[in-house]
């Protein structure tokens, strides 16, 4: 058997991705409707400074954090469910988060007092609760995680039903339609410093927890019986993993809406470049997700400049193309063997 793919060392890939992220953040603060002048004049011009500091930098850093959260949760989902096709959204967490946001907007969106409350808390809480409940509902319907097909079907069902409920709410309360549309298309345009800090804070917590649980993901690849025979407390660990998964997904989705494929593609890209244990895969998937969404955010600003494309649309198109390429490549490899 010959192996033609280039193998990276985990540390080498991590450093490369960090450099790419730094580059993306620098570029992200320079690119926008007012062009690079704002960046060059930021020290002299107050308006230019505001554009760079209050708009471009938080959205760029926010895109990086949201991508990292999605990449991390994608790697967690694939490890937890031992299925390379699992992504956080497939288990209904995105629809759950959408429903949570729709309910929150419908219930609290009316009064000025409630709006203030919403601003303070953000929609993270609602999205988080929605995501957790949706994943729990999926696990309940599939009666555990042992049967992959049942799990995926349950995820699809939960996704469709909760998505329909969110649509019903927007139909009954048209005033939340605009907020929901921005949410469903996925956008990094409105990320402020508070969201940014929140996402990086949650990311730090999730990365630490995920790394602490990573050995269980390694053991789970041996199969459930063997993992149990190694003395692992599988039930509580699964609950912990699902909580981390839901927290990461819920936080990202609440701040940026539904951004497709980053959670699925980032771990795939990492695994195609690095063969490593889950601790590295989780960390690198977070970095890869951050770099991917940064790149997508930059493209979204450039493709139809001076107008902007919702970044979720771009990641859906690029991610779909990537998966198609992956499928055709694996077919070619099978034929070659």
């Amino acid at each position: 058997m010959t192996h033609t793919s280039v193998r990276w060392s985990p540390l080498g890939l991590a450093l490369t991705l960090l450099v790419l992220c730094a580059l993306g953040i620098a570029l992200g603060s320079a690119v926008g409707s007012t062009g690079v002048e704002s960046w060059l004049n930021a020290w002299q011009d107050n308006v230019a400074w505001q554009i760079v500091w209050d708009i471009r930098l938080p959205r760029t850093l926010g895109a990086c954090a949201a991508g990292a959260l999605l990449g991390l949760s994608g790697a967690l989902a694939q490890g937890l469910f031992r299925n390379p096709l699992a992504d956080p959204y497939l288990l209904g967490s995105a629809s759950g988060a959408s429903l949570g946001v729709a309910v929150a907007l419908a219930l609290l969106g009316g009064s000025p007092l409630a709006s203030e409350l919403l601003v303070r808390l953000g929609l993270t809480g609602a999205a988080f609760v929605g995501a957790v409940l949706a994943v729990m509902l999926t696990l309940l319907l599939s009666r555990g995680v042992q049967h992959t097909l049942r799990l995926l079907l349950a995820g699809v069902i939960v996704g469709v039903v909760l998505g329909a409920l969110a649509s019903l709410i927007t139909l009954m309360r048209p005033d939340v339609l605009q907020g929901m549309q921005g949410f469903l298309l996925g956008s990094t345009s409105f990320i402020a410093w508070t969201s940014c800090v929140l996402m990086f804070g949650v990311l730090a917590v999730c990365v630490v927890l995920a790394l602490a649980l990573s050995r269980v993901l390694d053991a789970l690849t041996l199969g459930e019986s063997t993992a149990l025979s190694l003395g692992l407390p599988l039930a509580p660990v699964r609950v912990a993993l699902v909580c981390v998964l839901a927290l990461a997904t819920g936080t990202a989705v609440a701040q940026t809406g539904l951004i497709a494929f980053v959670g699925l593609a980032a771990p795939h890209l990492v695994r195609s470049m690095v063969k490593a244990k889950h601790n590295w895969v989780l960390l690198l998937s977070a970095l890869m997700g951050g770099a991917l969404l940064l790149a997508a955010d930059l493209l979204a600003r450039l493709v139809i400049a001076p107008q902007e494309m919702p970044v979720g649309v771009l990641t859906a198109v690029l991610g779909g193309g990537y998966l198609l390429w992956l499928m055709s490549r694996s077919q070619h490899m099978r034929v070659a063997r």
Partner: protein
Amino acid sequence: MTAPRQALRVCDVRVSLGGQAVLHGLDLSFSAGRWTSIVGPNGAGKSTLLKTLAGLLPTQGRVFLFDQALQTMDRKLRAQQLSWLGQNETASDDLRVWDVVMLGRMPHQEWLAAPSAQDHAAVDTALKATQAWDWRERSLGHLSAGERQRVMLARAMAVQAQVMLMDEPLANLDPPHQVDWLEQVRCLTSQSTTVISVLHEVGMALHADDMVVMQAGRVVHQGACADAATHRAVEAVFDKRIAIHALDGQWVAVPKL
């Protein structure tokens, strides 16, 4: 003369899977430091019995590991004393062989602790014993099915448990490596390890010290592999389609055509 120490004992064990009774009130004991093979036709309940012995299935009745009730034993202590190799066990293609075998040391490690020198030594020994040492840096995805099986065997051996349970450990192994496995089991039992294996190749199973013959969820016979009564029981559960003969000092199972 004192009675041999019992490594595992089951009392009136019943198991139902999907609402269907698979094991019907079994009473068995397995002597320490011996190799027992479990044989029987397809669907006899061999793998279910092995999983029950490992404490991996909800059961009615009692299972004792060195006279301690398995169900109430500390999870980690049980994992240190009882090693399990599942049927068609595999791991992620992305993991290095060395990392897979190191997973076998989990029962001996603290949650976030780095592997100790003892862990390293156990992994090295297991890799060398299964002739998997040379691929320790390769990822599992780059190995053949037989090579993977040897890595999985090394993973189970790295636990260094007093009791090893193996379900179809010879799957995908070529004849020379089947012989290596037999030698390895002999080496383990000489060090007082108890080995219990499910094998569908009766010829290989006859190399064990003792044999449990099963049919339709019941034990029809338990005895030494060299006993004529054991041979008759094996022939009977396979509808007399095989015959057991002696050849060059070994027992062989020959198909009756």
